[in-house]
Structures are given as structure tokens and as C-alpha cells.
Symmetry: C2
DNA sequence: CTGAAAGCGCTTACAG
DNA sequence: CTGAAAGCGCTTACAG
């Protein structure tokens, strides 16, 4: 329709080579009137590259996961890439292999693994080294692939120090799932208690959701000597607070509660929730930058990656 | 490595034609030891089909959107498809065109548009008819593409009737964004008030987020004669409740509040939130089924798609 | 600046 | 049951 050869159309569209203004205009006119769109599969096949970035994650709706995915999407969009989502719903060898197969069944240019829990960790070991991979993780050691790291341990330590500073004799912990070994949140909490010579209470393990936080809260309500609780996520903290209140325990009058993540509803909870803020969007954006070859140090100063405490209404001085 | 021709490998892997057990085993062994994975781009190019389903949406983190996407992902995974996410961040012609370009830049087998707001609606009119498309929407009219429809109007009506039944003289409404015209939630509310001969108060328009619900709540706190409020989403309702409480208004003692969606935190709010539950996961799953050719009627009975009222603690009899 | 040729890695008739 | 051949729609040297 434009009266030119196929390669010329390719050159106009890619902008790699100069094409005479006349032919270029003809091509563009034809492209418009035909509604022509290059075939992505053919392009991926011949170039060997793909602008599809696949995110492998165990969950897409919880706050931390969803925010990170949003950050990935934003950065990918800005660079002309599309993002695919593959969910690993179990950490069995079979479930992990299925997820990897599904993700790599598409022509992907790179993979971002949300290594927030054990399925994520196992995906990392299963992925062939031939595909460019970046992990988003709080694990500071044993990383085989380029990673965007956020310092959960420091966040856990900061929150614990804050509570001890309020006069609490010790701090209890309701832990979120983690990637294999104890989470950084837990480690930072434990180290800080030990350094302060405080007793380290038994950890209550919870899932990511409110329900399991509520169950943990019921348990805490009957434990003796609980005056401060650090939770592994805000969703867990919401459940803990609600459960305590349902048992007549005042927050923060009787027990102070700190969350983790800075969920959008944290400031609107009753009482508003003191929490450790993590900039998940930023983590997602950095993961994309890393995948496109930026050196880790260029992608943002460490400051933005460090979780930091946001003090609100759910914490106060130790009672009595 | 297996000593067979390329087509034979193809046949073994696709399972379309019978291959002798001997050669099949050789091929499988070679596939395993080589870690061979078919090239998705080449496959898509030659077959003209693709197992990539693209979801176009204006948001990925708000509850309704995130849940629908999760439903899409689950159903896609079950059928061996992968899902890509493309975000439209504005409803300008340019923003919409960019999103469509991005989505169709990949070899997609089909597109699912979350037509929950005006960007979604505009995407539907921009998408070329050549690509298989399904919309998820609450709009019951003017649909040009196969759609999964949920009856927002009925949900709005049910909630309004419920509040009137509690003795409230009228019900105020804080609306969420909608796809172009008044949302079904709003229409159902208005129709029900009219049918009951109740006054129809001026609508307060809000965004999807808590902050804007909070602002609406502050406004409602100073309006006269407000005893019941229906909100366009739970996130909005959370903000409304919090704002009312911050002004010393008791919920539900002074004002009853109803949300929409049944957010996972609704039951844990203080007071727990009465809301209209929508099964978004199911909508997502049905969208995938529709895309793969199921007739709309086969994909699930209408019952599951109808929003229904969940009564909790934020509603009570009209005061006085 | 532009066209003819080759080739990316598969699948699908077509023979045998 | 299996191989040789053709072709999907592009991009990239290679000539001119």
C-alpha cells in the first residue's frame, strides 16, 4: 500500500535507519489507515529479545505484593515493557516447576521474583540461569541473582527499640511468613531484645491475612505480661488490635501494637496504627531498573530502601 | 541429541500425533537433560495463537480490581495461559491509545478490560475488533463486546431498601468513580429512594481511596438530617466512618454506614462494616471462560454474580 | 537511502 | 509413524 518493501516499513517503524521523508510519510500513512501493528511474536523471534517482563509471586492482592507489582508495572510501562504475572501457589517442587514453566512459556525478556516467602525462594533456585532474573527480597545473604534488598532487620530493630524506649520490659512478636529462614523482621526484633537484656518471648506465627492476626491477638490477650507487640505485617496488626479490643484490652493503654509495611488503611485504623513503612513501589521500580542493566547502586540511594518507623496512635508508654 | 527430526520433537511435545514409544522416550530424555523449552515467540508466530491474556485496567491495588485480576489469573493458570497487566492511567485519547499499544505490542491471545471506570470504557472503544475481547462491567447497556456483568444497581437498591427498612427517612450517597454515566450503585440507590417517596439528597463524589472517603465523611458530619449513608466502595466507607467518629458522631448510633464490595477488612473495622458483597474473583474467572469461548450463560448462574447485602455492625435503627 | 535474501524456531500439511 | 519442505512476520546484514 505504501509502495515500499517490507524492510523499509521495518526501518520506519523502528527508526534505526534513515528513510527518505517521502517514503516515510507514505509508510506512516499506510500504517495509520491500515491500523497496522507489528506482530510481537515475529519481532521477538527474530530479535531474540522481548519486552515482556514476568513477575513471579505467591500473591497478588496483599499490600506489599500488590504495591511492588504496581511499581514494576509503572517502571515497565515507562520503558515500553509489558508485565506478566505468574502466581506460585505452593512451595512444592511441582508447584514451583509449574509456575516457572508457565512464566517461561511466554517469550519473556526477564523475570522478577518476589522473594518474600518460601515459594519465591524456591522459584529462584529453579529458574534456569539463561533467563535474566532479579529478586526483590529482604534476605541479605545467600543471594545468587541480582537483587533489590530492603532492610527488614533494621526495621524490626527500630520498632523494637522504640517500644523498649517507651518503657516496655519486652516486646512480643507475631511473625509473618518468610522466605525460608527467620524473617529479617524477626531477627531484628530478637537481636534488639537480646542486646537490651530483655526476655525474648515465644513467637506466634501468623499468615499474611487479618484472620490469622485476629487469632494471634486472642492468644496474646490471655498471655501474662504482654504490654507491647510487634507484628510482621499491618494486616496481621489489624487483626491483633481487633482481637485485643474484643477482649476488653485497651490499645495502646494496656498493650501497644506496631505493624509493618504502612498499609494505606493504617492511618485510618482505630487506633491509628504505628508501623514500619516500606516503600514497595520503589522496590518494584528498582527491580525493573536492575533488570534493564542499571547497577544496583545507581538505582536509588539506600535511604529510600530502608524501612522507617511511622509513629501513630497504637503505641504508648508501658502501663503501670 | 535424540536422533530425530525437529517435527518429531514438536509432535512429542504437543501430543497431537502418535510417536513411537522408543523415539518419544529419546526425545523426552533429551528435553530433560538439555532443559529444553519451546520458544513461545516462534510458536505464537506459526500458530497465530497465543496463550497470553492481557488485562487492561486503571488500577491494580484497589480491592475490586485486585480481586478480579486474581480471579483472571487463577482461571488463566488453570487453562495454561499467562496473564499480562496493562494499566491505563488516564482517560485521555492519548493515554488510552498508549495503553492499547502496549497491550497489543505483545502477542496476545485475548484481552480482558476492567470496565469499572471511564478509562476502561474508552479502552473498549479503542481496541481493534480483530482481537478477542471481553469486558467486566456493571453497565447493562451499550455493550459492544462480550461482557461479564454484575448487577450493581440491584446491590445499590438492596442496601438502600435495607436502610429505609431500619426507619431512616432517606439515605445519603458517597459515590465512587464510574464508567462514564452514573454508576449502577448510584442508580439503584436513587431509584429506590424515589420509589419509596424519599427525598434524594445531593450526591457526594469521591475517588476510590480512603482519603477521599474521609473528606466526604467530614462533609456529612456537618450536613443536617443525615442518618444513613451508602458508600460506593468499602474503602470510601472506611474513611467516612473514621471521619464521622473523629467529629464525635456515633456509628451506627447517630449515622448508619453501608459500604460496597466486601473488602477483607470490612469485618474487622470498628464498627464492623455492613456492605454489599461482590464476588470479584468469580467475575475474573468468568471473563476468562468467556474469552475461551464459553457461552455467557454457561459460566455460572446469575446468582453468583449478584451482589448481596452482608449485615454487620455499622448499621442500625434510625435514631430518635 | 532502499530492495533482495537469509533466517529466527517453531508447526503443519505432504509424502512415504 | 516420521522426515523434507514450506512458511508464519518480522529484522538484519549485504549489495547497490
Amino acid at each position: 500500500m505504501a509502495g515500499v518493501s517490507v524492510p523499509t516499513v521495518s526501518r520506519v517503524l523502528s527508526g534505526t535507519t534513515y528513510v527518505s521523508d517521502e517514503k516515510r510519510d507514505q509508510v506512516l500513512a499506510a500504517v495509520r489507515s491500515l491500523g497496522y501493528r507489528p506482530n510481537g511474536a515475529a519481532r521477538a523471534l527474530v530479535t531474540g529479545r522481548s519486552s515482556l517482563v514476568s513477575v513471579i509471586t505467591s500473591n497478588t492482592t496483599l499490600y506489599g505484593y500488590a504495591s511492588t507489582i504496581r511499581g514494576v508495572e509503572q517502571a515497565a510501562r515507562a520503558s515500553g515493557s509489558t508485565v506478566a504475572i505468574t502466581v506460585v501457589d505452593s512451595d512444592t517442587a511441582d508447584g514451583v516447576a509449574r509456575a516457572v514453566d508457565l512464566a517461561l512459556g511466554q517469550p519473556v525478556g526477564g523475570v522478577i521474583v518476589l522473594d518474600f516467602d518460601s515459594p519465591g525462594t524456591r522459584v529462584l533456585t529453579t529458574l534456569p540461569s539463561s533467563v535474566p532474573t532479579v529478586a526483590v527480597t529482604s534476605a541479605t545473604e545467600g543471594r545468587a541473582v541480582p537483587s533489590v534488598v530492603f532492610d527488614d532487620r533494621r526495621g524490626g530493630a527500630e520498632a523494637t527499640r522504640f517500644l523498649l524506649g517507651l518503657g516496655h520490659r519486652t516486646v512480643h512478636h507475631v511473625s509473618a511468613p518468610s522466605s525460608g529462614h527467620p524473617s529479617g523482621r524477626l531477627v531484628g526484633w530478637r537481636e534488639t531484645l537480646r542486646a537490651a537484656g530483655a526476655r525474648v518471648p515465644r513467637v506466634i506465627a501468623a499468615d499474611w491475612n487479618v484472620e490469622s492476626g485476629y487469632a494471634a491477638g486472642l492468644e496474646l490477650a490471655v498471655r501474662r505480661g504482654v504490654t507491647a507487640v510487634l507484628c510482621g505485617s499491618d494486616e496481621i496488626a489489624f487483626g491483633v488490635v481487633k482481637a485485643l479490643q474484643s477482649r476488653g484490652v485497651r490499645v495502646p493503654g494496656d498493650i501497644s501494637v506496631v505493624g509493618f509495611d504502612d498499609h494505606p488503611l493504617a492511618a485510618y485504623w482505630t487506633p491509628s496504627l504505628t508501623t514500619v513503612a516500606v516503600d514497595f513501589d520503589q522496590l518494584g521500580r528498582e527491580a525493573v531498573a536492575l533488570l534493564s542493566g542499571a547497577a544496583p547502586s545507581e538505582t536509588g540511594c539506600d535511604g529510600t530502601r530502608s524501612p522507617h518507623l511511622v509513629e501513630r496512635g497504637s503505641t504508648g508508654p508501658a502501663p503501670g
